[in-house]
C-alpha cells in the first residue's frame, strides 16, 4: 500500500489505453438503439461511451471510472423540458399573442426576457455540466464535485460575457479566462478544491489575430481573385474570364472560411494551453500540450473520417476527442493518498440536462 504518488520524472500521468475496435462495439449498437428509439436511447448511449472511455484511461496507477447512468441523464433532460422548456414556450406564446394584439413593446419585452433567461441558463448549464462530470468521475473510488449550484456563476457568465464584447470584443479573452478561473475554483476533487489563475494576457496576442484577419483576408482575397482572373485569361476569351471569375470566387470563399477557422483554432489551442496550465489541484499542476497543428490535424482527421464513411464515422468523434484530450493532458506533482478522502459535496440525482438541451461541450 503506497502512501503517496510522485509523478515527477515518470511517463505521462494520463494514459489512454482504449482502441477504436473496442469502441466500435460500443458505438455502433448505440447508434442502432438510438435510431430505433427515436433518439431516446442516446442518454444511455452516452453513459456507455463514457464508461468505456473513462475505464480505458489510466491516471498514474489506477483507471478512471464513470459512475453516471443513462437514466439520470434522461431525467436531467426531462427536467429541463419541464422546468425551462415549457415556461419558455409559454412566454414566447404570450409574447406573440401580445404582438398580435398590438402590444408590440410588451411583447418584445417578454421575448427579450425569454432570451435573457436562456443566456443566463446557458451559463448555469456550463457550470453544472462540469460539476456533474466531476461528481461522476471516480479515481480510486474518490469523486469530485462542487458545493455551488452554479446560479451565481450564471450571473457572472452574463455580465462578463457582455462586458467582454462591449469594447469591440477586446475583453473577450479576459471574460473567457476569468470565467474559467471562476468555474474551476468552485470545483473540487476529494476534499480539495481546484485553483485556477489563468491570465488574459497570455492569450491576448492570439486573440488579436481576429482583428488582423480582415486585412490579411482582404489581401488574400485580392490575390486569389486576381489569380482566378489571370487563370481565366490564360484559358482565354469571354468564357475563360467567366471561369476564372468563378474560380476566383471559390478561392475567396475557401480562403475566408479556412482563414477564419485557422485563426479560431490557433486561438483556442493557445487558450487551452493557458487555462489548463494555470489550473492546479492541491500540489498537482496540469498542462495541456496540444499545438495549433495538433488541433488542425484532429479537425481535418474528423472531417475526413466523417466524409469517407459517409457520415457513419461521426460516432467515433467522441472517442477521437477524448483520446486527443487525454494524450495532451499532463499532470505533475504529488498526491498524498491518505489525505485524499471522499468528497463531501452534494451530488445531484440528475444529469447535465441543461447542457444537453443546449448542446454544448463540458470543458
Amino acid at each position: 500500500m503506497q502512501g503517496s504518488q510522485d509523478m515527477e520524472g515518470s511517463d505521462s500521468a494520463f494514459v489512454f489505453e482504449g482502441n477504436w475496435k473496442d469502441f466500435a462495439r460500443i458505438a455502433l449498437p448505440n447508434l442502432l438503439l438510438t435510431i430505433v428509439t427515436l433518439g431516446i436511447y442516446r442518454f444511455w448511449a452516452t453513459a456507455r461511451e463514457r464508461r468505456y472511455l473513462w475505464s480505458r484511461t489510466r491516471f498514474v496507477d489506477e483507471h478512471l471510472e464513470w459512475a453516471g447512468t443513462g437514466m439520470e441523464l434522461f431525467l436531467g433532460f426531462v427536467m429541463v423540458i419541464l422546468l425551462f422548456g415549457l415556461p419558455y414556450f409559454g412566454l414566447s406564446f404570450v409574447a406573440q399573442a401580445l404582438i398580435a394584439r398590438g402590444y408590440e413593446a410588451i411583447g418584445a419585452g417578454l421575448g427579450a426576457i425569454a432570451l435573457i433567461s436562456i443566456f443566463y441558463l446557458g451559463g448555469v448549464a456550463r457550470f453544472r455540466a462540469l460539476r456533474y462530470r466531476l461528481s461522476r468521475t471516480r479515481w480510486r473510488s474518490i469523486r469530485g464535485g462542487s458545493d455551488s449550484g452554479g446560479f451565481l456563476f450564471g450571473l457572472s457568465y452574463m455580465w462578463k460575457t457582455m462586458v467582454g464584447w462591449l469594447p469591440l470584443g477586446l475583453l473577450v479573452p479576459w471574460s473567457m479566462t476569468s470565467l474559467w478561473n471562476e468555474r474551476w475554483s468552485k470545483m473540487s476533487f476529494g476534499p480539495f478544491a481546484f485553483e485556477a489563475d489563468a491570465e488574459a494576457g497570455g492569450v491576448f496576442a492570439r486573440f488579436l489575430l481576429f482583428y488582423l484577419a480582415p486585412f490579411v483576408m482582404f489581401v488574400g482575397m485580392l490575390i486569389m481573385g486576381g489569380m482566378g482572373m489571370l487563370a481565366g485569361y490564360g484559358i482565354g476569351g469571354e468564357n475563360g474570364r467567366a471561369i476564372g471569375g468563378i474560380v476566383g470566387v471559390i478561392g475567396i470563399v475557401l480562403f475566408f472560411y479556412l482563414g477564419l477557422g485557422l485563426i479560431a483554432v490557433a486561438f483556442y489551442a493557445k487558450f487551452y494551453r493557458e487555462v489548463v496550465g494555470a489550473t492546479r489541484w492541491r500540489s498537482l499542476h496540469f498542462s495541456f500540450e496540444a499545438s495549433t497543428m495538433d488541433w488542425v490535424k484532429l479537425l481535418i482527421g474528423d472531417a475526413l473520417l466523417v466524409v469517407f464513411t459517409l457520415g457513419l464515422g461521426f460516432v467515433f468523434l467522441s472517442y477521437r476527442h477524448w483520446k486527443f484530450f487525454m494524450t495532451h493532458l499532463e499532470a505533475g506533482g504529488e498526491i498524498l493518498l491518505d489525505e485524499l478522502t471522499q468528497s463531501q459535496t452534494r451530488t445531484a440525482k440528475h444529469g447535465e440536462g441543461l447542457l444537453d438541451a443546449f448542446d454544448m461541450g463540458a470543458i
Partner: protein, 374 residues
C-alpha cells in the same frame, strides 16, 4: 465500515480453504484513496470476505452491484456503501461467478431482451408512435371542440390589436357578402386586415381575414365572394385545427419544444392546408355560391389571373400562404368555370357601391393600426 480489520482468529480456526475458494482482489473502501490488495474468500452461500494484511471487510454477495468491465477486470459496487469499489479478475471460478451479479451492458430493458429483439420491439413501437404523431392532426383536429378552438384562437391573436378595418358601410357590405356564403346561424367572424398582401387566412376560432392587398386587386365582388367562401369552408370543415396541430407538430420536430417564432401570427400567416383540405374548401365555396346564386366566374377569373402572375401549373414554393399551398390555379379556375356550366348571367353578389365600400374600407378607417411584424 472499512475499519473492519479485526478478528482474523476466527478464520484461523476453520478448515484450510481450498485455493479455488480464494481469488486475488483489490478494493477501495470509499473513505479515502488507499488501495487494499488482498484476496476475496467466499463460503459458497453468498458470504464474502475481503482480506488484506491491514484490513478485512465482510460483505454479502447480494449487496454487490455490477459496475463496469475493464480490460481484464471487473468492477463491482456495494448497494449499502455507494463509494465502495471492488475490483476482481475477469476469469473467476464458476462457483464465485454464479454468486456475483451479472454484467449489465446496454441498460436493463435491452439486457433482458437481447440487442436484436430489443431493437425490433423498439422499431415497431417507434414506427407506431411516428404514425400516430403524423396522422394525429387529421383525426384529432376535427374532434377538438369548437369552443376550445375559439379559446385557442382568442389566446393566439385576440382581435389583432385594432388592425382590422372598419367603416359602417364596409362592415355592412362584408356582412351581406358573408351572409351569402355562410348560411349558418352563428356566422364566422370576417374582417379585412390592414395588410398589403394578396392573401386571406382562416384563423383558429372561426375567424376569417381577407388582406387589404387582396381586396384592392379584386376586379369584382364575386372574386371576393369566392375567396371568402373558400376560407369559410376551411372553418366549417374544421381544417384550421388540423393545420394548427400539424404546424405545432412540425415545429416540435424541427426545433424541439421551442416554437416561439413559428407559433405566433407569423406562423399563422404561413400555415398551410393539405390539398385535400383545399379541394374540400373549394367544394364548400361552390356549393354555397350556387345556393346564393353567386357567379363562380369571378373566382375563376381570379385564379386565371393568379396563374398568369405566378407561372401557371406549378405552385411556386417560395410563396407562402394562401396562393402557394393551394392546388394549381389553372386547375381551380377550370373547376369554378365548370361550376357555371356555360351560364354567364348572374345577379350581382353585392352592389357596386357596397363593393366600393369594401375597397375603401381600410383607407377610410381613421383608427386602424398598421400591420407590421416587429
Amino acid at each position: 465500515m472499512a475499519k473492519a480489520c479485526s478478528t482474523l482468529s476466527t478464520w484461523a480456526r476453520s478448515e484450510p480453504m481450498d485455493d479455488a475458494f480464494e481469488v486475488p482482489a483489490e478494493w477501495y473502501d470509499g473513505t479515502n484513496a488507499l488501495r487494499h490488495s488482498g484476496v476475496l474468500r467466499w463460503d459458497g452461500r453468498g458470504g464474502l470476505s475481503l482480506q488484506a494484511s491491514s484490513s478485512r471487510v465482510d460483505l454479502n454477495a447480494a449487496d454487490l452491484r455490477f459496475g463496469e468491465t475493464r480490460t481484464d477486470r471487473t468492477l463491482y459496487r456495494r448497494e449499502s456503501v455507494p463509494d465502495f469499489r471492488l475490483i476482481l479478475p475477469n476469469d473467476l471460478p464458476p462457483g464465485l461467478a454464479s454468486q456475483l451479479p451479472g454484467k449489465s451492458e446496454y441498460g436493463a430493458w435491452v439486457d433482458k431482451l437481447g440487442l436484436g429483439k430489443a431493437a425490433a420491439i423498439f422499431s415497431a413501437v417507434s414506427v407506431a408512435a411516428v404514425a400516430l404523431f403524423m396522422t394525429a392532426p387529421d383525426w384529432l383536429g376535427p374532434r377538438i371542440p369548437a369552443s376550445w378552438e375559439r379559446n385557442i384562437g382568442e389566446a393566439m391573436v385576440g382581435d389583432f390589436g385594432g388592425r382590422i378595418c372598419h367603416t359602417p358601410e364596409g362592415d355592412a357590405a362584408l356582412a351581406k357578402l358573408l351572409g351569402k356564403v355562410d348560411p349558418a346561424r352563428e356566422k364566422v367572424r370576417a374582417g379585412i386586415a390592414n395588410m398589403d398582401m394578396v392573401n386571406a387566412i382562416a384563423l383558429p376560432g372561426g375567424q376569417v381575414l381577407l388582406f387589404d392587398g387582396l381586396v384592392q386587386q379584386a376586379e369584382s365582388p364575386e372574386e371576393l365572394a369566392g375567396v371568402l367562401a373558400h376560407e369559410v369552408g376551411h372553418v366549417r370543415e374544421r381544417h384550421v385545427m388540423t393545420a394548427l396541430l400539424r404546424q405545432f407538430g412540425l415545429s416540435v420536430l424541427l426545433a424541439g419544444a421551442d416554437s416561439g417564432l413559428t407559433n405566433g401570427a407569423v406562423g399563422l400567416a404561413s400555415m398551410g392546408y393539405s390539398r385535400d383540405a383545399e379541394r374540400e374548401a373549394d367544394d364548400y365555396a361552390r356549393a354555397r355560391m350556387a345556393q346564393s346564386d353567386i357567379s363562380p366566374l369571378g373566382a375563376a377569373s381570379f385564379f386565371e389571373r393568379m396563374a398568369k402572375e405566378h407561372g401557371g401549373e406549378d405552385n411556386s414554393p417560395a410563396l407562402l400562404g394562401w396562393i402557394a399551398s393551394h392546388p394549381s390555379s389553372n386547375e381551380r379556375a377550370k373547376a369554378y368555370r365548370d361550376a357555371a356550366a356555360g351560364r354567364t348571367a348572374y345577379p350581382p353578389a353585392i352592389t357596386d357601391d357596397e363593393f366600393e365600400a369594401l375597397k375603401t374600407m381600410c383607407a377610410d378607417d381613421p383608427d386602424v393600426e398598421e400591420f407590421e411584424f416587429f
